[in-house]
């Protein structure tokens, strides 16, 4: 694709592209290449010698039960965050799609959490559910629950999932509402004339017509759960207790921070790169489908 009439200049286009190219090559491609290269190396404990070991870092990772647990955990988090925030957002969007008074106000009051940074989300939820001083934690204790996410791994995981889902509701709500408003009203009216009741109308007409939006949001929510939860985890649990909230991204960060195995950390990065490539490819294939829809 190209315009019919263009400017003719040899050097000008390169000058225009130079800033972006420079940053992309220095800060994106070079580090990515480094990560790939390091993932094939084994460095001794003092960093004095390195040996090329082919795929040993990868096979070590795949044999490591800790890594396997982190993979499973990340997918469980993604599923839990996605399902809870998508269903809450869908319910709210369906309600906000009705011809109610003050719908604009409702929308404003529901979309702002998009702008709250993940570490702040972490702090807010930590404060509510902190075992010794959290307001909600007191409620849970009063109900006879032994609530202590600082010691109990499952409760810590639940805390991360709740906080992450809370933040993502606004985003999902916005796109669901846009999707719902894109469905022609005549479709609903026709079904109503046929005598279909509202709940049935939703599942047989609205929901199927929303599938492109749902599919798009699933991809976005998986990306969110994989990558953007880092700030939430870092302020709430730092991966603990006993790694119960350590996701793949958090593991790359903390393994490298301890100055441990550089090769293994690089191999983990490369595996994550693979995951991003697959997710982006799915997202773009879907967008093409949406255009022809």
């Amino acid at each position: 694709m190209q315009k019919q009439s263009v400017f003719t200049s040899r050097s000008l286009p390169w000058l225009l592209i130079a800033p972006q190219m420079l940053i992309v090559l220095v800060f994106f491609y070079w580090p990515a290449a480094q990560a790939v290269w390091q993932s094939f190396l084994l460095q001794d404990a003092f960093g004095l010698s390195t040996t090329f070991i082919w795929f040993e870092n990868y096979s070590d990772l795949l044999a490591d039960p800790d890594y396997f647990a982190a993979v499973v955990r990340t997918f469980v988090f993604a599923a839990a965050i996605g399902v809870s925030s998508l269903s809450a957002a869908l319910l709210l969007a369906v309600m906000a799609d009705k011809p109610l008074r003050g719908v604009g106000v409702y929308r404003t009051l529901l979309i702002w959490p998009y702008a709250v940074a993940p570490p702040v989300v972490g702090v807010l939820w930590l404060f509510m559910l902190n075992p010794s001083l959290g307001v909600l934690a007191h409620g849970l204790r009063a109900m006879g629950l032994d609530w202590n996410p600082l010691l109990n791994g499952n409760q810590a995981a639940l805390l991360i999932i709740l906080a992450s889902a809370w933040k993502q509701i606004s985003y999902n709500f916005l796109f669901f509402l846009a999707g719902l408003q894109g469905i022609p009203k005549s479709v609903h009216e026709a079904a109503a004339i046929d005598g279909a009741r509202p709940v049935r109308r939703f599942w047989t007409i609205t929901f199927p017509l929303l599938t492109p939006t749902i599919f798009f949001l699933i991809v976005i929510n998986v990306v969110y759960a994989f990558f953007d939860t880092f700030g939430i985890i870092d302020t709430m649990t730092r991966g603990g207790p006993a790694k119960a909230t350590e996701t793949l991204v958090y593991k790359v960060y903390s393994d490298g921070l301890l100055g441990g195995n550089l090769g293994s950390s690089a191999a983990q990065s490369v595996i994550l790169m693979g995951i991003v490539i697959v997710l982006t490819a799915i997202q773009f294939r879907f967008v093409e489908r949406k255009v022809t829809y």
Binding site: M1, Q2, K3, Q4, S5, V6, F7, T8, S9, L12, P13, W14, L16, I17, P19, Q20, M21, I23, V24, F27, P31, A32, Q34, A35, Q38, L91, L92, A96, K98, L100, L109, I111, W112, P113, A115, A117, P119, V120, L124, L126, F127, M128, S132, L133, I169, S170, Y171, F175, F216, I220, F227, F230, G231, Y253, S265, A266, S269, L272, M273, I277
Partner: protein, 282 residues
């Protein structure tokens, strides 16, 4: 049938208000905590109504800093965050405009290669190249500097794609007309293309400002000095592992201050925000 409709409407209002309450509750609690006495909070005796320490806490947070540790006042952090967010947003818009202009309005060898090189960076977020990127920034002497905070995040495949798509829709006649008027590539860019792109730029700015303000992992790696940290990093450092030492009113005041600018942008510029969000996801 009509009665039924009325009940449904009340139900919808009720569900929406419950949703709003759930979404707002954590922030309400944070605000309440920022107006109360630390001792009451630490004892778990926090009241659910505002206390009398509002001015005291916010003054201390902004200009003095929390006392338990020798941290910077939050005023400095706010400034750092603002500089970072603005440089990222404006930088991304500027370099993406230029690249998209070159790709659409010029014909040069490897044009599509260049386009793909920019496009593929979508698949290389900071999270998958944490330590090598840090090492390069360190080698280039960028640690603890504003350029270090902003430069590595300034490349933007999304913005370039968006401007490219928009430029493709600009009719050829406009360019021919301005060429007949004797305008060169610079004047066409400045007098025709930039004014046409204004709404797109504004929508993108809103999204990118929020993106820049809320950065966490990169500033965490690249700042070590207290006077260079952004507000997001400052909050994390205020939480001391043993609860007793954490000054919760100051932490909560900092959280409120950290979310105020981006939330205000979303609410005040809601139309541009929604437009930017929908367009950058394409």
């Amino acid at each position: 049938m009509v009665e039924n409709e009325g009940i449904r409407r009340y139900l919808a209002h009720a569900i929406l208000w419950i949703g709003i309450a759930v979404v707002a509750f954590p922030v309400y609690l944070a605000f309440i905590a920022s107006t109360q006495d630390n001792a009451a909070i630490a004892n778990g005796q926090m009241s659910l109504l505002p206390g009398g320490h509002f001015i005291e806490t916010y003054y201390k947070t902004l200009f003095v800093g929390s006392s338990g540790t020798t941290r910077e006042p939050v005023g400095t952090m706010l400034l750092n965050s603002l500089v970072m967010a603005l440089s990222i947003a404006l930088g991304k818009i500027a370099i993406s405009l230029l690249s998209a202009y070159a790709i659409v309005f010029f014909r040069f060898p490897f044009r599509m290669t260049v386009f793909w090189i920019i496009f593929i960076t979508l698949m290389l977020p900071v999270e998958v190249r944490i330590y090598p990127t840090y090492k390069i920034a360190a080698d280039l002497n960028l640690l603890d500097s504003y350029s270090g905070l902003a430069l590595p995040l300034i490349a933007s495949a999304t913005a370039t794609l968006l401007f490219r798509q928009f430029f493709m829709t600009v009719p050829d006649e406009l360019m021919e007309a301005s060429r007949i008027d004797g305008a060169g590539p610079f004047r066409f860019f400045k007098d025709t293309l930039l004014p046409l792109s204004r709404t797109n730029m504004a929508a993108l700015f809103v999204i990118l400002f929020i993106y820049g303000w809320n950065q966490y992992l990169w500033p965490l790696l690249i700042t070590t000095r207290d006077d260079m940290q952004t507000i997001q990093i400052g909050i994390r450092k205020m939480i001391v592992t043993s609860d007793a030492l954490t000054e919760w009113p100051v932490v909560m005041a900092t959280s409120i201050l950290a979310m105020l600018p981006p939330v205000a942008v979303v609410i005040v510029m809601q139309k541009l925000f929604v437009r930017g969000l929908v367009e950058t996801e394409k």
